[in-house]
Structure formats: C-alpha cells, structure tokens
C-alpha cells in the first residue's frame, strides 16, 4: 500500500503541483518569482488562446466521434464474426501503430495528396474534382488524428462488446425486440462504458496534439498544443507553457465530465457504479 501511494505521489501529485506552480512564475525558465503574469497575458488575448483552445477541443471531439463510428462495427466484427482468426485481426489493427507516428503522418500525406489514392478514389465516384486535395486543410488533421488513435478505441470497444452475454440478446429477441430495438436498447447501452473509456484515451491526446496538424494542416495547422510547444522550444517560456497546460487539462476534464453526464442521461442505467 505505502509504496504504491508513494509512487502515485511522486508521479502524479507532485508533477501536477509543479505544473500549477511553474505556471505562476515569471519566465523565462522556471527560476523566476511568482507573479502570475503569464496568466494575465493569456487572459488578455482571448482571440488567440481562446480560439485555439476551442479549435483543439472541437477537433479532438470530432476525431473521437469518428473513431467510435469506425471502431464500433470493427469491435463487433472482431467479437462476433472472426472468432478463429481473432488474434490475427487484433494484431493487424495494432501493428501499423507500432511504428513511429511520423511515418504514419507521412503515409497519410501520400494518401491524401493531390492525385493520391484517396483523392483518386473520391474523384472516381464523383465526390472530388481532379486536383482537389484534403491536404493542408483541417479535414486532413481530423482524418489523421482519428487514424492515429483508432486502435485505442477498437480495444476499448472490443472489451465492452466482448462482455455482452449472448443470452441477453436471446432474451430480448424472445420478448419481441427487433434487430434495431436490440441494438438501440440492449447492445448500445452496454457498450457505453467502453465508449467512455475510449473517449478518455482518444480525446485527451487528440485535443493536445500538434505535430500532425503542423505537417498536414497547412494554414489550419495551428493548435493549442502548437502554442504550448512553441513557448518552450522557441522562447523557453516554461511558465506560459505550464499555465496553458493547466488550462488545457481543466478544459479536457470539464468536457469529459460533460460528455459523461450527457451519456448517462441518454442511456439511463448504462453507467452503474458511477455517480
């Protein structure tokens, strides 16, 4: 008990405390006096900081929704349709993501470049003009973030789908529930905890992402995370970076709490044990 509590203290509580404390210092570096001036600077420029914060949160949420849309059927298929080759398919979902994420970003670049495979396919079905491209738009960033974090959502939802007992579905069927009703009232609510778990592990990094946007986003490539990174790498202003990190952290927590409350209202009883 004691060692684990110490570990928690050293790896979670102390760093969080330091983050808040650094944010109150005067930059550059972290040996200035406590003045809180960086907070004042941030508050004085809502058109920059607020704008980017909203952009990052919206993009993170959109990417999460996209991963749920793709990962849900994938998880269902993994659980119900490919029992024999399941480990193989699971491995196939994960393996591409064991390489450097930079490689994945450049793979996406080739895919969505003008004349690339994806754009060629979209042109083929009449959805895009030749020469159109998603590259250097916010859509490219959205697609990339969804792709990057997809395996996490697949895993979270797979675990949830796997836990659904077939007899529950049989019972619903015997009571006259059609396919849609079984999905809407039985299966979907039972996967809500998986979605929430997936939300936490996909939304949090997606909302803080900046490398993907910088390479693929063109003039829409500026994120809240970009700003944090630049304050450290370009001007050694750790206090402002720390203050912004606290803001991002709180914003993410508030948003996660809001989504959780909404889901609980939408699926009563789906989140037992939670308050």
């Amino acid at each position: 008990m004691l060692p684990s509590a110490l570990l928690l203290l050293a790896l979670v509580v102390v760093p969080l405390f330091l983050l808040v404390y650094f944010g109150l210092l005067a930059g550059p570096g972290v040996d200035g006096p406590v003045t809180g001036e960086e907070w004042a600077r941030i508050a004085g420029q809502p058109d920059l900081y607020g704008r980017l914060l909203v952009r990052s949160l919206v993009l993170g949420l959109a990417a999460t929704v996209l991963t749920i849309l793709v990962a849900w059927p994938t998880a269902w298929a993994l659980s119900r349709h490919v029992r024999r080759l399941r480990s193989l398919y699971l491995a196939l979902v994960i393996i591409p993501h064991l390489t450097s994420s930079l490689l994945l970003i450049y793979a996406m670049y080739v895919l969505i470049a003008p004349g690339g495979p994806l754009m060629a396919a979209l042109t083929g079905v009449g959805l895009a003009e030749p020469g159109d491209t998603l590259l250097f738009t916010r859509w490219a960033v959205l697609l990339m973030l969804a792709y990057l974090f997809l395996p996490f959502m697949v895993m979270a939802l797979y675990a949830a789908v796997e836990r659904i007992d077939d007899t529950v579905l049989d019972a619903a069927r015997s009571l006259g529930a059609g396919a849609w009703q079984r999905f809407r009232h039985v299966v979907l609510p039972l996967t809500v905890p998986g979605m929430l778990a997936g939300l936490v592990i996909v939304f949090t990094p997606a909302a803080g992402a900046f490398v993907e946007a910088r390479i693929l986003g063109g003039t829409d490539g500026m994120m809240f995370g970009t700003l944090i990174s630049e304050q450290v790498s370009r001007v050694n202003n750790q206090p402002r970076a720390a203050a912004m990190s606290v803001i991002l952290l709180v914003a993410i927590l508030v948003l996660l709490g809001g989504v959780r409350a909404t889901l609980r209202r939408a699926f009563p009883g789906a989140l037992r044990g939670g308050r």
Partner: protein, 386 residues
C-alpha cells in the same frame, strides 16, 4: 474470466503504447549519442620522412567542438591539418548553440581549443568567459574573407574579433521556374493575389519578421512590429503552408502544392541539382542570412594551434575541397578567394554568389523580450487572429 480477458487486452494496449514510446526514445537516443562521441582520429604520422622539423606542432592535440558532420570532421579536413602541423585532431560534438555553451561552461574550457558558436552567441559567451579574442595577425587567410562579413558587429566585442567568418547561407525567394515566366525580383510576389494559396512560408519567427521588415523597407533588426503583423496577416490568404522543415517544403514543392516562398539557399541548390524546377533569388529588398564563425575557446590548451586550425578552416584550399565534395553538405564559403575557384555547377549547388553577400541582413542576437514578441506575433498570424 471476463475480467481477466479485459485485463489482458488492456495489457496488450499498454504494451503497444510502451513499444511506441520506446521506439520514439530509440530515435532520440540515436541522435543524442553522436553528441557525446569523441571522434578520435588516428595519429598515423608518416615517420619515414624527415619533415618532422618542419611540423611546428608535432605530437600535440587539438580539440574541436562542432556539430557532427559539419565540414571540420571530414577526412580531408583532418588529414590536411595534420599534414601541415603534425598535430592530432579530436572532435567533440554538440547538437545546438545552447548545448555548445553548456559543454564549455561545464568543463570544456581548458580542454577544448576551438568551437563554432553562432555569431548570435558571441557576446554572451564573451561575457561568460568561455571564448577569447582572436589574434587576426595569426590568420593569413583572413584577407580573403568578405568585408561585408568582417563588418558585422556581432562578431566583435569591445572592438576585438571573437568570431572568424567561415561559411554562410541565406533564406531567399524560391520559386517554381515552370510557374514563373520571369524571375521574380521582389518579396512582393508573396503578397500578390496571383499566388493565392500557393505560398510556402517558413514557420520561423525571426525569419518571418526580418523578411517582412525588408519588404516594408523597415530596419530588419529593429522593425515596427505592428506593421509587420499587419503585413503578415495580409499575406495569409496566399499561404498554403507554414513549413517547419526542409522536408515539408520539398514535399509540398514537388507535389506542386506550393509554387513560391522563402527557403534556404543550400537546400534550394540541392533541389536544383536533383533536376527540380527550382529558382532561387535574393530579392531587391535583401534577405535574411546566417553566418558560421570559429572562435578560440578561453584558456585553450594550445592557442597557437587553435589559430592554425581556424586559418586552415578558412583557407581556400579546404573550403574549395569541401564545397566540391558532393556529399559534404558545404554551405557557401565566407572566403571570396575560395568562392572564385568554384565551378559554376558547385556555385549553383551551394548558392555561392558574392553579389548576394551585400544584400544580406545577418540574423543577430535577440533579447528574450524580442524573441517572445516575435514568437507571439507569428503565432497570432498562424492562428488566423485578425
């Protein structure tokens, strides 16, 4: 049973995440490792001859602090120096200006003879006492160095020379020759509606501010930042990409996502050599440039040998050999006599044109406040703040 399966899945996901992290760290390690390496060159002095008497530094060792693979550690750089002096050359590597200063502050002084700090750092390092003044009388080859470079304030402290110009480069107007009927002559093309959505603009606060100040006819070292911000916001509809690395630029350029922008001379020259339709020009307003300078480290074990090394580095002989080495990654030489000996192909590849030198605004040292202001300014522009 089910809990266990859930747990093993989580473990799998965790293992995946850990592997990802490990891979990323490996890459970082690979880069870091070279910085700690001390490259010991063998001292196989040819002792069959009786030239020993002619070699002034026989048996002595010179320690050089530089980036890895930046000219001074080429075989011919070391062999040439060892033949002339009889001394042995050792390298210590760093991976950036801050690390260079750190190495000297923490034990490098007294051990290392010469280093290559950016002129931006010269004044701070002189104050820190990690470099000392160079004696120009010991550098015969200083005569060949462009006067424009020797006139730069940043390499002097209290009138004494602390940084000896070695190689230079610029960030000029780079364009697709297939998309331009004639060579553009002004930065104004970046603001011209004709190139809407086709500009690749460097994501660097200093370069952005200096370029814009030059375009506006302002002082590139002390511009009116509000005017600069306004101009950069005006340019935004033309910008397709704020590029962060040479790779980003090259990829966007070769796929014709961008047609024009500001880009580094050396990298533009390499693209030309590969047959890409690249044009590179220093516009009439001038352009931002950089300079690498050699300094003698304070308390150097062998001051005379250090001067001999710097004199060798800026010599026509070495600079020409380096420039002509197709894999040497040489920038343009700061020695005009060396430049004159280069073939037209080499001049094009490394963009070694003396007429560009006088139009350069060499990036100087910025105060913390200026760095902060420049960084915040470009962030606002990139974020689309009006």
């Amino acid at each position: 049973m089910k809990t266990r399966r859930y747990a093993s899945l989580l473990a799998l996901a965790l293992a995946g995440a850990l592997m990802l992290a490990a891979c990323a760290e490996d890459e970082a390690d690979d880069v870091d490792e070279v910085t700690d390496d001390v490259d010991e060159t063998t001292d196989d002095v040819d002792d069959t001859t009786d030239e020993d008497a002619a070699l002034p530094f026989e048996g002595e060792t010179l320690t050089v602090l530089n980036w890895n693979d930046y000219g001074s550690d080429q075989d011919y750089a070391i062999a040439g120096f060892e033949e002339r002096t009889g001394a042995t050359v050792e390298h210590v590597y760093h991976s950036g200006g801050e690390e260079l200063r750190e190495v000297l502050r923490t034990g490098g002084v007294g051990e290392i003879d010469v280093a290559l700090p950016n002129p931006t750092y010269v004044e701070q390092m002189q104050e820190e006492g990690t470099i000392e003044a160079v004696d120009p009388d010991l550098l015969d080859n200083l005569d060949g160095v462009y006067d424009d470079f020797l006139d730069i304030d940043d390499i002097y402290v209290d009138g004494e020379l602390y940084g000896v110009p070695w190689v230079w480069g610029s960030t000029g107007l780079t364009y697709n020759t297939e998309h331009f009927d004639q060579e553009p002559t002004s930065w104004g093309v970046l603001w011209d509606d004709e190139w809407e959505g086709q500009v690749g603009f460097m994501d660097s606060p200093v370069e952005a501010v200096m370029l814009t100040a030059l375009y506006l006819g302002d002082d590139p070292h002390d511009p009116d930042l509000d005017a600069v911000r306004e101009a950069l916001i005006d340019m935004r509809p033309n910008v397709e990409l704020y590029w962060g690395s040479s790779d980003d630029w090259t990829r966007a350029f070769t796929t014709e996502a961008i047609s024009v922008g500001n880009f580094w001379a050396g990298d533009a020259g390499s693209m030309m050599e590969e047959g890409e339709p690249v044009g590179y020009v220093i516009p009439e307003e001038g352009a931002a440039g950089w300079l690498s300078t050699w300094s003698v480290v304070a308390d150097a074990p062998n001051v005379e040998l250090a001067h001999a090394w710097i004199d060798w580095m800026i010599s026509e002989e070495f600079l020409v050999e380096w420039a002509e080495d197709p894999t040497g990654n040489a920038p343009a030489p700061a020695n005009e006599l060396a430049q004159e000996q280069l073939s037209e192909d080499v001049k094009a590849r490394i963009q070694a044109y003396p007429e560009q030198v006088e139009d350069l605004a060499i990036m100087g040292s910025l105060s913390q406040e200026e760095q902060q202001a420049y960084t915040d300014l470009l962030a606002e522009v990139k974020a689309g703040v009006q």
